[in-house]
């Protein structure tokens, strides 16, 4: 008994420092070796004047060495700092890419006219956000700093006038309206298709066919359906249509995926019609519906940006394409950055909604 506990104590004491250090030393040596190899490889190529010829293999190999390096570092990180390490990795790598891009553009290794350094894109973004474009009568954000003054002068009409000149609000408005217009009927049709075999057989093939059709290709037809083909309605409708098709197909799969035992339980305990939909079918299909909504949001962004490329006088897509046409790549890139930021923000909004509507999910 005493012998055992003494052994345990010895083992516990040594586990603290003794057996770990040689391993850690080995890891440190490996880290130094990997970092050294990465630097040496690139320097050797650069010194020989061959880096430009072998840029892609050199970048690929450096990336592999970097992954190995970070994995070694990860093994040395104590458990309580694991979270910080993972965040550093997730944010640090894109940062490294941006820094390398900056250096490459500054040194002229890549053409800064077509690939302007991130710092210039940032300046362009600041410029776009703060300046009023007299030519098109638009701004990126609608000059929110003028809004309090406009409100005190003209009330809401003043604020609306400023907001109406914003590219971002134009795009977000189209996406949100189109999204609602497509998602709500899409989910309803999907539920009917999921429950009724006849409707499913009748619509499935048609929807699948329209689904693969690029929505920008049917935009001209959609335009012709309206008295004002250049107004907002066709743009919103084409977004709604793409979201509708996707959500109908997705919700159908979601409803069909509900475990039959829940439907039986619902029926046995007296649910029918609306109560069946409200208490069993919609919540049962909700997880898959939400993953569909997330994809639909991406699709809505793609569609609206391409529509704005082609036919719009306002919107982030229009702005991006406009600065490409006038050969101002910094501002074009700034437009792309705005699209990405909008995508991330809208996805966050959707995730917030998901947490509110599905509190039962972990």
């Amino acid at each position: 008994m005493t012998v055992v506990s003494a052994d345990n104590a010895a083992a516990a004491g040594s586990a603290g420092a003794m057996p770990r250090s040689p391993i850690a030393r080995g890891e440190r040596r490996a880290i130094l070796l990997l970092a050294g190899a990465m630097v040496a490889l690139n320097l050797a190529l650069a010194a020989a004047g061959l880096w430009g010829d072998f840029a892609w293999p050199a970048i690929g190999l450096s990336f592999v060495l970097l992954v190995l390096l970070c994995e070694r570092i990860g093994r040395l990180v104590p458990v309580k700092h694991k979270g910080a390490y993972e965040r550093t990795l997730a944010l640090g790598f894109p940062l490294v890419v941006l820094v390398l891009w900056e250096l490459a553009a500054d040194s002229g290794f890549i053409n800064p006219n077509w690939f302007p350094p991130p710092s210039k894109i940032g300046v362009a973004l600041w410029d776009l956000s703060t300046r009023y474009d007299r030519f098109s009568g638009t701004t990126l954000l609608g000059r929110p700093w003028l809004m309090p003054e406009a409100f005190s002068q003209d009330g809401w009409a003043g604020v609306w006038k400023l907001a109406a000149e914003s590219h971002v609000l134009a795009t977000v408005g189209r996406v949100l309206f189109g999204f609602m217009l497509g998602a709500i009927p899409g989910v309803l049709v999907g539920v009917v298709m999921g429950l009724n075999q006849t409707v499913r057989l009748m619509l499935d093939t048609t929807l699948s066919a329209i689904y693969v059709l690029p929505k920008i290709a049917i935009f001209p037809i959609v335009m012709l359906m309206f008295a004002d083909p250049f107004g907002e309605a066709p743009k919103i409708l084409v977004v709604g249509l793409s979201v509708f098709i996707l959500m109908a197909i997705n919700t159908m799969a979601a409803v069909r995926g509900i475990d039959n035992v829940y439907l039986m339980a619902g029926k046995n305990y007296g649910a029918k019609g609306w109560s069946m939909l409200r208490h069993v079918i919609l919540p049962g299909a909700m997880p898959v519906i939400f993953s569909g909504l997330r994809i639909a949001l991406g699709t809505a962004m793609i569609v609206i940006i391409s529509v704005e490329f082609v036919r719009a006088k306002q919107g982030v897509g229009y702005m991006t394409f406009y600065y490409w046409e006038v050969l101002n790549p910094e501002k074009m890139y700034a437009g792309l950055v705005v699209v990405m930021v909008l995508g991330v923000l809208l996805t966050y909004a959707l995730q917030w909604l998901q947490r509110r509507l599905m509190p039962w999910q972990k």
Binding site: M264, K267, Y269, W360
Partner: protein, 268 residues
């Protein structure tokens, strides 16, 4: 007068010459053939049989969840109007993951239009009764399998049906949890004396719980034998060690083992 007379004489569940056929690509598959069963009011009847003998199908037919190909099944309504005829406890729990435990237990009452306060009070009463009161606002993913099945059982009991239909309710649980819930079932049944139709593949469970054990044959399911279990009530888990219990089990197993062998040979 005549109604009460009829209620006293007619069985609570009357299944007469029930058959179930499925059309398949290679012709008709017979899942259940000419199966008759009468369950008296307040009786606990267990149905045992090899897998695929159609016992679950029969239970779903009694519940009205599956169509009847031939024959008829009746559940005698009680004197109180508005009480549901049957509630099913499913093998896979089937409590809704999107509802809290108390909402799950109150579900049947909610569907019948019972007011919010009353149905939650009744649900809480049943949760307390099986020791889940403090988990009322938990979601099913936060609790264990045994707790889920308890919720599933009290969801049926809170609905206060004329008959309780249980489809291998403890089949998915581990051996220890099974025994605990069996004891709980015995206790609750003593207090409520519901009419129960109980499907199981465990002989011990059937003999322990049932007033009668019905043995079914392998596919197509037919009535093979009936055993009346005359162990005294209230029963306890300790009875599973008594010689009479072992005798009943041996009797049933003798018949069942032949059937299981036949079923295994018929379907390689």
């Amino acid at each position: 007068m005549s109604v009460s007379m009829q209620a006293a004489t007619a069985p609570k569940i009357g299944a007469r010459h029930v058959s179930k056929h499925y059309p398949t690509a290679d012709g008709t598959m017979v899942a259940l053939e000419d199966f008759s069963l009468e369950v008296a009011d307040g009786e606990f009847v267990c149905i045992v049989g090899p897998s695929g003998c159609g016992k679950s199908t029969f239970l779903r037919m009694v519940a009205g969840l599956e169509s009847i190909s031939l024959g008829s099944i009746d559940i005698q309504p009680g004197r109180e109007p508005g009480r549901p005829l049957n509630s099913v406890v499913f093998q896979e729990y089937a409590i809704f993951p999107w509802k809290t435990l108390i909402e799950n237990v109150a579900f049947g009452l909610q569907m019948r239009g019972v007011g919010r306060k009353e149905r939650l009070d009744r649900a809480r009463y049943w949760l307390d009764r099986v020791g889940l009161g403090k988990f009322a606002d938990y979601y099913p993913h936060q609790i264990s399998g045994g707790m889920k099945q308890r919720v599933s059982i009290i969801r049926a009991l809170a609905n206060d049906p004329e008959v309780l239909l249980m489809d291998e309710p403890l089949g998915a649980l581990d051996a220890q949890t099974r025994v605990v819930i069996q004891e709980e079932l015995l206790r609750i049944w003593e207090e409520t004396r519901k009419t129960v139709l109980y499907i199981t593949h465990s002989l011990d469970e059937a003999v322990l719980l049932g007033d009668r054990v019905i043995l079914m044959s392998a596919q197509p399911g037919r009535h093979l034998a009936t055993f009346r279990i005359e162990l005294p009530r209230p029963r306890t888990i300790a009875m599973t060690n008594s010689p009479r219990f072992a005798e009943y089990r041996a009797q049933i197993w003798e018949k069942l083992s032949a059937e299981v062998t036949r079923a295994m040979e018929a379907r390689p």
